[in-house]
């Protein structure tokens, strides 16, 4: 019994299992997918270095169009969301502008 166990251990040491060589495409990285779907700001701060690394790796492997698309979509997403003022925010902005002009005019006239 001891001999059988010794042989088994020896064989397992001599012929270990091959490590699985998986070559993942960096353009398919979940971080890039997250940035593409929800925006770059949705990536946690701690993952930014890895995200930058994946962007560079993807770019190097010919995925420059994908990277450009992620960045373009991100700008467009923020722009579309904020280009028109919602609800009362425009009224508030006008009030601020009026107060500002009133104050500046007073300052100029008093001096």
């Amino acid at each position: 019994m001891k001999i059988i166990i010794s042989i088994f251990i020896s064989l397992s040491c001599l012929f270990p299992q091959d490590s699985i060589q998986v070559t993942l495409n960096p353009c398919d990285d979940p971080l890039l997918e997250l940035a593409g779907s929800l925006g770059i700001k949705s990536i946690p701060i701690k993952d930014i270095p890895r995200f930058k690394k994946m962007m560079k790796a993807c770019d190097d492997q010919g995925g420059d169009k994908i990277i450009e698309q992620i960045i373009f979509q991100d700008w467009q997403r923020d722009y579309k969301k904020a280009k028109v003022m919602q609800a009362w925010t425009s009224t508030f902005s006008i009030c601020v502008a009026i107060i500002y002009v009133y104050f500046m005019a007073g300052l100029i006239l008093s001096s």
């Binding site: 925006g39 700001k41 700008w75 923020d78 280009k83 508030f92 601020v96 500002y100």
Partner: protein
């Protein structure tokens, strides 16, 4: 009818969930501000030779803040503009280390829109909670005399008889500010923000509502007693701020 109610509930949950999980935007900012107060209580003081005024201890404000986008085109937060002064005071009994800070705590309510994908224009109205603090590190045996010399130079008459180990005189007031500015985004997370506007800090008056919430040279506190502080002109001040913004989420 029952199934229609279920459909209504499901539709409501789905539509509300899109609001609940909408991407929050939290940003921090660091920068500086420029303004021009008249601190005549220090500059024209003949009783105590305060450190020489310069652009760094009069006009520059260190600034940091944190903002949260509540919903589209609207963010709120906290911004602290601080003016520092540090130096030596030649008092009768000792060479004391003098430290003065004036902190304007802004609670900005800001609306904005994107004029271009990278350029934002913003409009800010902020209540202000201001606080000024003066501390003097003197030799332990001469604390009361040194502090009295300082306070007498502001117009008081020997108000302190005993002092603690850590002493600083403070006062608070409220005010408001209005600013208009722009922001240029270098990336979706990083941007430069420039604002210009005014800051109006209130003064105590006989009106009950603002009797004790505006600035008054008679409302300074030191060791739980009221003392006189310096004359400060901090109302109707134009202010400029420049910040670097970093989006956390």
């Amino acid at each position: 009818m029952k199934s229609q109610i279920q459909v209504l509930i499901l539709t409501t949950i789905v539509s509300l969930s899109s609001i609940v999980i909408a991407q929050p935007k939290l940003s921090v900012d660091f920068g500086m501000g420029v303004y021009q107060p008249t601190l005549s209580g220090f500059d024209d003081n003949t009783g105590v030779p305060f450190p020489t005024k310069s652009i760094f201890n009069r006009n520059l404000l260190m600034n940091w803040g944190i903002h949260k986008e509540i919903f589209s085109n609207f963010r709120m937060g906290y911004n602290s503009f601080t003016s520092f002064e540090i130096g030596e005071l030649s008092l009768v009994n000792s060479e004391a280390v003098f430290y003065r800070s004036i902190r304007y705590r802004f609670f900005p309510i800001e609306t904005y829109f994107r004029w271009r994908p990278r350029i934002e224009l913003n409009f800010t109205l902020s209540p202000i909670w201001g606080r000024a603090k003066i501390s003097v590190d003197t030799s332990p045996g001469d604390k009361s005399d040194d502090w009295n010399q300082l306070l007498n130079s502001f117009g008081d008459s020997d108000p302190m008889s005993g002092m603690g180990s850590t002493d600083a005189m403070r006062t608070d007031w409220i005010g408001f500010s209005g600013m208009i500015g722009g922001r240029y985004y270098l990336s979706s997370r990083l941007g430069f923000d420039f604002k210009m506007g005014f800051m109006n800090n209130s003064y105590s008056s006989s009106v009950d509502f603002i009797k004790n919430i505006g600035y008054s040279k008679d409302q300074w506190r030191l060791e739980n007693s009221k003392v006189k502080g310096p004359d400060l002109k901090i109302d109707d001040l134009p202010i400029f701020s420049f910040k670097v913004i970093f989006g956390l989420r």
